[in-house]
Structures are given as structure tokens and as C-alpha cells.
Amino acid sequence: MDTATPQVTSRGTAVLEVSDLVRRFGDLTAVDGVSFAVSPGETYGLLGPNGAGKTTAISIVAGLLDADAGTVLVRGDHMGPERVAPKRHLGLVPQELAIYPELSARENLMFFGRLHGLRRGELRRRVAEVLELIGLADRAKEPSKKFSGGMKRRLNIGIGLLHQPDLLILDEPTVGVDPQSRNAILESVEAMSGAGMAVLYTTHYMEEAERLCDRIAIIDAGRIQAEGTRSQLIQIVGELDEIRLAGTGDLAAAAARLQALPAVHKVAEVGRGLTLQVREAPTAVAGVVTTAGGAGMDLTDVEISRPNLESVFLHLTGRALRD
């Protein structure tokens, strides 16, 4: 792991502290020594492909599974399947649509709100607030089975934050959601974090992690491969951009000419084209294209990419996030 120690940020005492978590299923070690901490107002992302161990990790954090080793503290209280007190601080948004289709949005919220101990006036007030927040106030009385996928997802999230938990766990909350609903969900998460809620967010969408998360743990094969802010993680692969040139002609000559440019750090011949590592690609691209053309290369395509978490994941695991 590149940044090994779970850190408590300067925002305050950690709401969630996870230490050396291990969980095995037979011969498979699904979670292997995972440690991290999440503070109030912080959104912490677990980024990894399907099967990386994210859901198992948050199942332990949410008290659904026992760990074989390690500890989970929520507000300083040990979490486990039989524990009640730490679960009062927790809101879970499972990956599945954990709502009752026969009940309306309001009835779903009222039901789960009561189970979280909300009563009468407070319950009605919070239900009304959440219905507004998730944009379902005008359809509150309809059976939720009539909702679109995006509306169900929003209701799924609304139930998780109804009782204003200290820690909100969202497990892949945007899977199967249309772009408009996804954006609404991401805005909701940003609002919650802004309101001081600690958010633990799992996803395999790099864009979501980059947009939402203050800190990100890249997880694969049950282990945290790297952890930090977006810029900290990108430093792992360096801050150079990439320009890919596709075309024909004398690639070797073009590579030699391009290598001489000041902005170009490295040139490699890849398939029927060249891949260049450059500083500030948007500025350098014009000179690169001119130089390649002057060296006898007939360009058919030019592509610029800046380093992102996908690059980091590829660098750390040798695989793409969506493999």
C-alpha cells in the first residue's frame, strides 16, 4: 500500500475506524487486512472492480457480517451483527433496491424511520424533508413499484439518510441509473457530506470517486492497494499527460523527432502509432502534431489523456477498473 496508515483527517475525530479487517469465505480471502478511517464531513471512497472486496468490507462495517479478524469502531463503539448501539449512528444504502415495492415512498420512509426510533412529529418532518431532497414529494403516495429505476434508487438513498446518521454507507448507489438520476444522486451525496455527515462510498466508477471523494482507497483482491486524495494517488503514476498518435509512415523517424521536443518526456511505438508522455498535453499537442507530420507521419487520429484514477489502478494492479 502506498500510504499505509489510516488517517484521521483534521476535520475531527473519526466516525468510523477500521483496523486490519480480515474476512474469509472458505479458501477465498475476500477482505485482507483492510484499514481506514472516515471523519465527519468527509466522503471516503472505496474504488475497485467488481469482486474486489468492497461489498464484503462494508457488510462488516455495517454489522451484517462478522470479521474473522480486525475491528470496526463506529463512534468508538465496536460494531458487529449482534450490536445495537453503534448501528444507531449508521445509515446503509445497499447496492440492491432495499425498498418495499408494495408500499408508497412515504410508507417506506415512515416504516424505516420508526425502526430508527423517530416518532410522530419528528418522523413526519424528516419524511417530508427527505421526500423533497430526493425529489419524490409529488409522488409520495404512489406504490414504489410504479417508480422508475432512478426514482427507486433515490428512495433507497432517502431511507438511508432519514434519521440523519453520523455515518452513511452507500454501496454502489448509482448502478443501473440513468445519467440524470445519477447526477441527482451525486448531488445528494455532496450535500450530505457538506452537512457534516461522514460518507463511505463504494464504486467502480472512477468518475464518481474523483468527483465525490475527499480520500479514496483503491481496493483489489481484498487489499487496499493505495489510499489518499486524488492528487496524492495520481502522483503514484506521475503527473505526465499522455498523447496518442495514430497513423502511418515513418514512425521511427517521427519518434526520434518528437523525443527532441522539450515538453516530451518519453515516446513509445505502440501498435500502429506512437504514445508520448508529455507535460501539459493541451499546450504541447500542437507542436507534437506539427513535428510528427514534418517527420513523414500521416496522422489519422490524435488523443489526449490526463492521468486519472484509472491510470493509477492500471499502474497498481496491471488491470483496468472494469476488467
Binding site: 451484517l64 445495537v84 448501528k87 446503509l92 408494495e102 424505516f112 425502526l115 426510533g117
Partner: protein
């Protein structure tokens, strides 16, 4: 307690919204009961009026008694035509009379003196049950007269005086039978065909009804609401307890309604309402506990539905849902006796026959024992669904 009530109320609300519970719990069983009652019911027998052509001497008192007795059969309208003996057979054969009866000359005297004599009965072609009844009545009367004749003959041989013989004959003829055979049935056999159908169908569909609660639990596991509930600050066991409670409530209500509606529709009485209520509480406990074993063994709601249906049909069938099955002893018989639906039906038979709480001990213990065994088993068997 509040969380248990909230969970149970929420579950009941969903079950009621999901109309399949109403359909399988009430509509289908009542419809099936109606159909089966039509198929299996015993028809009421209507006796037609009959005419008897009788030849008997006007001065033969005993002969006249025989003929007079025929007109006094309850529920049977008998018209006696007095005709000469020579016409009796013709009238019967021509079907102008349903039965011909010839009391021979000197019949009364022969009986009094203990001599052999006989009455001729000629039934018309195509005569039915009414004539069988009349012939049986004549048999009964002649048996009594024969007893009188035998007694007086014995008295005469012993040298009794004629006035003494007449007195004895009078006593024998009018005395009540010394031995009376009373036809009855044990309490456990008091359910009519309709009653057995209603009880058996109620038991069969009870297993479907409470099964919905268990399938709902597996559905919750599949769609993630169970995970959400388990992440909430709820005491361990309260989720499963709430599911069991809602299944129990639905089972009790559905079974109670089925027995009530069945009683009204088919004119069946199951006896003491409190005792029937006790039987319902116990059989629902047994059925609910069984479904929680299914919940542990089934990985998916489809598996649970199939297992539930098989158990319901098997236990319901051997419990008398489709036809009465009687234990023939041996291992199979003992297993049959352990069937809670069978115990429920037997219990209803006992209450229908006027049995009390003490008479219900065996079926009640059977059902409660079944419930205990299944509850323990549901805690011991591995939760295969949780392995997913």
C-alpha cells in the same frame, strides 16, 4: 416491543397489499371446498309414497297388527288397500301396488298357539328402497310375534293354563327389548364428509398462507431489505420473530375465516368455538414453525415456494384435505398420526362430536410437539440462503 410491533404491522400491511395472500388464503380454498363438496357430498334420500295391497282376515287381530304397523313407519307415506288374497299377486306384478302382503287364515291363532305360520310378501317389479324398509318392518314384527309364539308354546308344554299363556303372550308382545343396540361413533369420527373437506382444506391452505411469510423473508434477503433491517439498531432475533408473528396472525385469521365460512356454506358444525380456536392456534403454530425450517433450507424464494407447495399438498392430503385417510398402524401409520394437519382434523372431529379439552390432549400435543421440533430444527439447520 415497539420495534417488533412496527415490523409486524409493516409486514401485515405488505401481505394485505399483496393480493396473493387473500387469493390463496381465502378465495381459492373456499372455491375448492365448494367444488369438492359438490363432488363428494352424500345426497339426501327422498322416500316416495307406496301402496300396499294387503289381504288379511278382519277378525285376525294379530294379522291386522302387522298391516297396521306398516302405516306407522316414520317418514314413509304408506297406503294400504284391503284386497282378496287371490288379487294380491296380480296387483303387485302389474305394479298397481308396490308391495303385496298376504296374511294367511288363522295367522293369529297359530301365533298364539306357537304353531308355524308364514306371511307372503310380493314386491312389485322395480320397487325401491321404500319396499326394503317395509319388508324389514314386517320382519321385525314377525320376529316379535315369533318370540311370543315360542314363549307360549314353551308355557303350554310346561302345563300352564290358557289364561296364564295369554298373559305371558301379552307381556312378551308388549315388552321392550331386553338388549338394545345403540348405533354410535367415537368422537374422533364425528366429522361429516363436508366437515372433513372444510377442515382439511383449511389445514392445507394454512400451509400456503403462513408460507407467504417465509417466502417474504427470503424475498427480503434477495432484494436487500433484510440487509437494511439488519444494519438497523434492532435487537437480535426481532426480525425473524416479527416475520413469524405476522405469518401466525395471517394463518390464524385465514383458518378461522375458512372454518367459519365453511361451516356456514356447508352446514357443518365443529362444536365448541373456544376449543376450535385452541386447535387453530396450535395448528398455525405447527405450520409456521415448519415454514421456518423451509426458510433455512431454501436458497431462493423459488425453492421455498416449491418446497412449501410440496409440503402443503402432502401434509394436507394425508390430513384429509381431499379424502379421509385412516391410520392403519405400523410406522407409516405412526407418521400419519404425527401430521399436524391430520391432528387438526381429528381435533375438529372430537369437538364436533362434543368432546372436551381432555379429549383433545392427543391432537393438541401432536401439533405443539411438531411446532417445538420444527422450531428447534429451524435453529439448528444451516441457513443455506445466508451462504449466498
Amino acid at each position: 416491543m415497539r420495534e417488533l410491533l412496527t415490523l409486524t404491522a409493516g409486514d401485515l400491511r405488505q401481505r394485505l397489499r399483496d393480493r396473493s395472500v387473500l387469493i390463496f388464503g381465502l378465495v381459492v380454498p373456499i372455491a375448492l371446498m365448494s367444488v369438492m363438496n359438490l363432488v363428494f357430498q352424500t345426497e339426501e334420500i327422498e322416500l316416495n309414497p307406496v301402496t300396499v295391497a294387503a289381504a288379511v282376515a278382519d277378525d285376525d287381530e294379530l294379522g291386522l297388527v302387522v298391516v297396521e304397523t306398516l302405516t306407522q313407519v316414520p317418514g314413509l307415506d304408506v297406503t294400504v288397500q284391503g284386497v282378496p288374497a287371490a288379487q294380491v299377486r296380480d296387483l303387485a306384478e302389474d305394479e298397481q301396488a308396490d308391495l303385496g302382503l298376504v296374511v294367511p287364515e288363522g295367522f293369529g291363532a297359530a301365533v298364539r298357539e306357537g304353531r308355524a305360520t308364514e306371511i307372503d310378501l310380493i314386491r312389485a317389479p322395480g320397487s325401491g328402497l321404500e319396499i326394503d324398509i317395509l319388508i324389514a318392518v314386517v320382519d321385525g314384527v314377525t320376529d316379535r310375534l315369533t318370540a311370543t309364539a315360542v314363549t307360549t308354546a314353551a308355557g303350554a308344554q310346561l302345563g300352564l293354563q290358557p289364561d296364564q299363556l295369554a298373559q305371558i303372550a301379552e307381556q312378551v308382545g308388549s315388552a321392550a327389548p331386553a338388549v338394545e343396540v345403540v348405533q354410535g361413533r367415537t368422537a374422533s369420527e364425528q366429522l361429516s364428509v363436508s366437515g372433513t373437506m372444510v377442515a382439511g382444506q383449511a389445514g392445507l391452505f394454512l400451509l400456503f398462507t403462513v408460507g407467504f411469510g417465509v417466502i417474504a423473508l427470503i424475498n427480503e434477503r434477495e432484494r436487500g431489505t433484510l440487509a437494511r433491517l439488519r444494519s438497523m439498531p434492532l435487537r437480535p432475533g426481532v426480525i425473524v420473530t416479527a416475520k413469524a408473528l405476522s405469518a401466525y396472525v395471517i394463518g390464524v385469521v385465514a383458518t378461522g375465516v375458512l372454518l367459519g365460512v365453511g361451516s356456514m356454506l356447508f352446514g357443518v358444525s365443529f362444536g365448541s368455538v373456544p376449543l376450535v380456536g385452541l386447535l387453530v392456534l396450535c395448528v398455525v403454530a405447527a405450520a409456521t414453525s415448519l415454514t421456518f425450517v423451509v426458510a433455512r433450507l431454501a436458497r431462493t424464494s423459488e425453492q421455498a415456494s416449491v418446497a412449501q407447495a410440496i409440503l402443503a399438498v402432502v401434509l394436507g392430503m394425508f390430513g384429509g384435505a381431499f379424502f379421509q385417510i385412516t391410520s392403519s398402524g405400523g410406522l407409516a401409520g405412526r407418521l400419519l398420526d404425527l401430521n399436524p394437519i391430520g391432528a387438526f382434523t381429528r381435533g375438529l372431529g372430537i369437538t364436533a362430536g362434543g368432546g372436551g379439552l381432555a379429549d383433545l390432549t392427543a391432537p393438541l400435543l401432536t401439533m405443539l410437539g411438531f411446532a417445538v421440533v420444527c422450531t428447534v430444527a429451524s435453529r439448528l439447520v444451516p441457513d443455506r440462503g445466508a451462504e449466498l
